[in-house]
Symmetry: C2
Subunit: 149 residues, 2 copies
């Protein structure tokens, strides 16, 4: 884990904020190099699949040229949902690092612990709470703005 990558993910969350998307950002790292960056684009694309993590995984697979992302780590500012954890398993992500906990939709350690399931094809390691305050603050700011509008 290197906190500098979460700082880069947070920049992608800010990009989402500026586009009026729920501000979640993500980067994927292989061999100490960022190979993909993405923000949430659900509103822009009018499609529920396009979470920051999914956009980033699609980009990374294009870079690697394989459906397996062996040795790749993902840094995301918010605890991933069921869909995104499932995608990370399918892509064989090595390590998942997330910022803020999502007590409602989080699928690693909050609402559901997907990786406690037996018999999965792959088990990424994960660690949460990295730059939690900053990752959480940008979401709070976004929803505060929304309510005031």
């Amino acid at each position: 884990m290197n906190i500098k990558y979460m700082k880069e993910a947070l920049k992608m969350a800010q990009k989402g904020f500026n586009k009026d998307e729920v501000p979640v950002g993500c980067v994927i790292v292989k061999d100490e190099k960022i190979i993909a960056r993405a923000t949430n684009l659900k509103e822009e694309k009018k499609s529920s699949i396009f979470h920051a993590e999914i956009n980033c995984l699609i980009k990374a697979a294009k870079v690697i040229g394989d459906w397996r992302l062996d040795g790749c780590d993902i840094y995301v500012t918010l605890e991933p949902c069921i869909m995104c954890v499932g995608a990370m398993i399918n892509y064989r992500i090595s390590n998942i690092y997330f910022g803020a906990y999502d007590f409602k939709g989080g699928a690693l350690s909050s609402n559901i612990k997907i990786l406690d399931t037996k018999g999965l094809n792959h088990y990424p390691n994960f660690q949460g709470g990295i730059m939690e305050k900053e990752c959480s603050q940008i979401l709070k700011d976004y929803f505060k703005n929304k309510r005031e509008k």
Copy 2:
């Protein structure tokens, strides 16, 4: 549930078979009309996200023009994985109908029962085992061919 839609999903599975993809097919139905059809394209796209269900959900959202697919039913020949069930929740799919059970990766009733989780944003109904024999047979044929090659 109308079995004619599973027959259409099975045609999409055959399309996958012909492309040397794991043969899973899917259709999405709204108001008794098929609005999207898709097959698995994981190998062609070299990317783990592109399961039949995800390809079909992306197409359906383009047709509807919204990230919510309220009132839409999905017919898929194989029990969906964690990622795909998560996506169906995110898109607010009304009913999930699947053919063959996936005892290893199935996330509705086989390996993990995602919809038993409390506090989800949405709970689709689901029913499995529709045209189970046919949906299962095409997968068996595919893997038999693979082993023989």
